[in-house]
């Protein structure tokens, strides 16, 4: 205790002595005290009586009063009564007549003794009461004193805390208007930290308006919170992002009611908050990154699966159907794939619907729409536009207004509404820079709305589909080409083997006859050798023709034109061919002379081919007429007409195509004669046509212009002969496979 160390004054010592009290429980000490004080009082009276024996008898109770007071003061009411009784007995025994015995008192003494007892009982009682009152007052004073101490201590601590704390602590008092509403707060206290932060002192601030300095609290809700705390008395612990008055910080505010005002502790948690935000952002970022990674993975997985399906087979129709089915419902409710046909019209190759039962419905709707509203390749939007421009279209949200705008009439609008579009993507399938088709993804009942990311995925898918379609087409073309090539090789080999059979056979026959007869009959030998020569010629011609074909395909067939008499050439040819057939009669109608600029060898080749065909396809013989004429000055015309089988109408369009054989396979030939003939005639600047007279047979008509400028080197950009040769072979290989 703080006053223990202070010097104790004599008054205090006395008062403390006075205030001593024997505890209530120490009965022996309290009653012992009563016995002792009575004995002391009696002893002192006896000594006094010895000193003045005369006066003692008149005051028998003289000393007893203080003794009883002491006993009652220190011992309480009980010991006071006890001392009174003891004092009465002692007075009777020692001082009242007759002394040295009890009783036998005079009436006056008896009355005095009784009064003595009663007085002292009263004194004891009063002492007791007084003592208790004093004790109570004392303890109250003590208590007050201690409270004061505690208060001082608490204030001291508070001061220390406020000086030492890094938190801001302010006390503000309500400022109320006449109606008692809180309109502002005034500064009551701010701790040193706050003083430092506000660059002022509480002395300057005291009683001033809070809103004047911090108007923002009115808008950011802090003011209302203060009011609420004042009105409810319930403390509030809140976090606040304070932006205003040049402050941009996060605070944790603990607001408690303090009188008619608030005490606010503010902790600056800006750094914690920023760190938290950074962490949250980082987590968000990580989550986003992961989400993106997962999405990317899902997309890749989807595309990988699509690629796998696409690569399963080279039959792209089946493949696209599986991809379409695969695309729903992952990507859309409804998926179609259109592929452009040879005429440039889209053909629906694949159709898939999320709900397989709706496929028939979808087809029916499509058919209805297609029936009523024919495909318009120049339409400004939709499938035609995508196919035309190669640019994708994305309709994230198809509204009814859009349908109304797109529909040509009520019926179409009804059908469009029945489909129930919510979003559409149309993506072109582009292979090697060419649009080959389009992928359409439609969202209907799912209510999905495609976004740029979906479009990207659709384009990736479309790219893969386009490659698959292209691959499949290339493969199919290659297959057709390979088949055609094999067919051609098989025919070519057949055609080449036929003359070789004769050549070899006659050679062997000659050897055999020579071996047998040692000498040969010239009359027998001659026709055989002539046949061999003829067959060797045929073989050579076939080989030339094969080579011509390769040259033609490579664009390297070069004419060697010279002016010759066509009549002479045709006459010789007719004579020669006539020797090979007895059934047919060859006739030439011509002017006597007709000179023209042609490549004589090529021209002869064409005519032989035509006449050979005429013979071959007139198995029953007949007339074969060649008519040469000049319908005008600059044109020469040659007709080759037979009375043969003719060509059935379904084959007529194709007879000038390479390897095309209008007749059944029994007729020997490579199917390239007319093709080569036409090419050569075109190189001469002319043309060849065919007519089929009503009376039967076939009539080929060749017309050649007079002044055709022959390009001698059709191919000029080849450096070395070898390079050209390699290209030649390559081209003929690819050409003949067509």
């Amino acid at each position: 205790m703080h006053n223990q160390s202070k010097p104790v004054g004599s008054f205090q010592r006395i008062s403390r002595l006075l205030m001593l009290r024997i505890p209530q429980s120490a009965l022996l000490r309290r009653y012992g005290l009563a016995v002792i004080v009575v004995m002391v009082a009696v002893g002192l009276k006896l000594i006094l009586n010895l000193v003045s024996s005369s006066s003692g008898a008149s005051t028998p109770f003289l000393n007893l009063f203080p003794a009883i007071v002491v006993a009652a003061w220190y011992g309480g009411f009980g010991p006071g009564v006890f001392a009174t009784l003891l004092g009465a007995i002692a007075a009777d025994f020692f001082f009242l007549q007759p002394t040295s015995q009890l009783g036998g008192l005079s009436t006056e003494d008896a009355i005095n003794l009784t009064i003595f007892v009663l007085d002292n009982l009263l004194i004891s009682l009063l002492c007791h009461i007084l003592r208790q009152a004093v004790t109570r007052a004392q303890s109250q004073v003590e208590e007050l004193f201690q409270t004061d101490q505690a208060l001082r201590q608490s204030e001291e601590r508070f001061r220390l805390v406020q000086e030492a704390t890094p938190d801001s602590f302010v006390i503000q008092t309500c400022l109320r208007n006449a109606q008692g509403q809180i309109v502002d707060f005034t500064w009551d206290y701010i701790n040193p930290v706050t003083e430092k932060a506000m660059k002022t002192t509480i002395e300057n601030l005291k009683g001033k308006s809070v809103l004047d300095i911090y108007p923002t609290i009115k808008t950011n809700g802090l003011f209302d919170t203060y009011v609420k705390v004042v009105e409810t008395g319930r403390p509030v612990d809140m976090e606040l992002h304070y932006v205003g008055e040049g402050i941009d910080r996060w605070f944790r505010n603990v607001i408690v009611k303090s009188g008619d005002g608030v005490a606010v502790t503010s902790l600056n948690i800006t750094e914690i908050k920023l760190a938290e935000q950074a962490r949250t952002q980082m987590l968000e970022g990580e989550r986003e990154t992961r989400r993106k990674a997962e999405e990317a993975q899902a997309r890749l997985g989807f595309l990988a699966e699509a690629s796998r399906v696409l690569n399963l087979s080279l039959d792209y129709k089946t493949t696209l159907q599986s991809v379409a089915e695969f695309a729903v419902p992952t990507m859309a409710d409804w998926c179609t794939v259109h592929i452009l046909d040879e005429k440039g019209y889209p053909q629906e190759i694949a159709l898939a619907h999320k709900d397989p039962e709706k496929i028939a419905w979808a087809r029916k709707l499509q058919a209805e729409l297609a029936d009523r509203y024919p495909y318009d390749p120049d339409a400004p939007t939709g499938l035609p536009n995508v196919l035309r421009t190669g640019q994708p279209e994305l309709y994230p949200d198809i509204t009814d207004e859009m349908l109304v705008a797109a529909a040509q009439d009520e019926e179409q609008l009804r059908l469009l509404r029945e489909i129930g579009y919510s979003s559409v993507m149309i993506v072109p399938l582009v292979a090697r820079g060419r649009v080959v088709g389009a992928l359409q993804l439609v969202a209907t009942e799912s209510g999905q709305h495609f976004n740029a990311q979906d479009l990207e995925l659709a384009q990736e898918l479309a790219q893969r589909e386009a490659i698959a379609v292209d691959n499949a087409r290339l493969y199919q073309e290659a297959q057709v080409a390979i088949a055609a090539r094999n067919e051609f090789l098989s025919i070519a080999s057949h055609e080449l083997k036929t003359p070789v059979t004769s050549l070899r056979g006659f050679a062997q026959l000659l050897i055999r006859q020579l071996d047998r007869q040692k000498a040969l009959d010239p009359n027998r030998v001659r026709p055989m050798v002539e046949t061999m020569e003829k067959q060797a010629d045929k073989l050579a011609r076939l080989i030339t023709r094969l080579f011509d074909l390769s040259k033609l395909e490579a664009g390297r067939l070069v004419l060697e034109p010279e002016t010759i008499d066509l009549v002479q050439l045709l006459g010789d040819l007719v004579t020669l061919v006539q020797t090979t057939t007895e059934k047919h009669q060859l006739v030439l109608h011509s002017p006597p002379v007709l000179e023209w600029l042609v490549d004589p060898l090529r021209f002869e080749q064409i005519i032989i081919n035509l006449v050979d065909n005429a013979i071959k396809y007139s198995p029953n013989g007949g007339l074969i007429e060649l008519s040469l004429s000049t319908p005008d000055r600059d044109t020469v015309c040659l007709m080759v007409k037979d009375q043969g089988l003719g060509i059935s109408p379904e084959h007529r369009a194709n007879i000038f195509e390479p390897f095309y054989q209008a007749h059944e396979r029994g007729y020997a030939g490579l199917g390239m004669g007319l093709y080569i003939s036409r090419q050569i005639i075109e190189l001469h600047g002319g043309q060849i046509t065919v007519e089929f007279p009503d009376e039967g047979g076939t009539c080929f008509i060749i017309s050649l212009p007079r002044n055709h400028s022959y390009t001698l080197q059709p191919i000029t950009n080849i450096d070395s002969e070898k390079g050209a040769q390699i290209k030649d072979e390559f081209r003929s290989a690819s050409a003949s496979s067509r």
Binding site: K497, T501, S502, R512, Y617
Partner: protein, 119 residues
């Protein structure tokens, strides 16, 4: 060689018909020739050969059609040997249930062996 043995040669190539005819005549066979299946059937109306040498690819009536018609009209057909320049000679032969085949260009001795074998 018995002069009774008759061979029918069916081929659209005149020179090959001539070659086979000359060869077989030299060996003492009797030879008839036809340009196509239809011709051959006409000849068969008059004469029954002991062996038919048949080309497959011919105009008007090819080997397949001839073989079918021949087997329908004649319950006891004579052996048929296919002569063809096609690469699928064996396949063609089995298609028309021919007894044998020779691929063109054939060796003359093989032809003679073949004929000898079936007569």
């Amino acid at each position: 060689m018995s002069s009774e043995v008759q061979v029918l040669v069916v081929d659209d190539d005149r020179d090959i018909r001539e070659l086979i005819k000359t060869t077989l005549l030299d060996e003492g066979y009797k030879v008839m020739t036809a340009e196509n299946g239809a011709d051959a059937l006409t000849i068969l109306n008059r004469v029954q050969p002991d062996l038919i040498l048949l080309d497959m690819r011919m105009p008007i009536m090819d080997g397949w059609a001839f073989s079918k018609a021949y087997r329908q009209s004649y319950p006891n057909p004579v052996p048929i040997v296919v002569l063809t320049a096609a690469t699928d000679a064996a396949q063609f032969a089995s298609q028309i249930k021919a007894d044998n085949f020779l691929a063109k260009p054939f060796n003359l001795l093989d032809l003679l062996d073949m004929v000898e074998h079936y007569v």
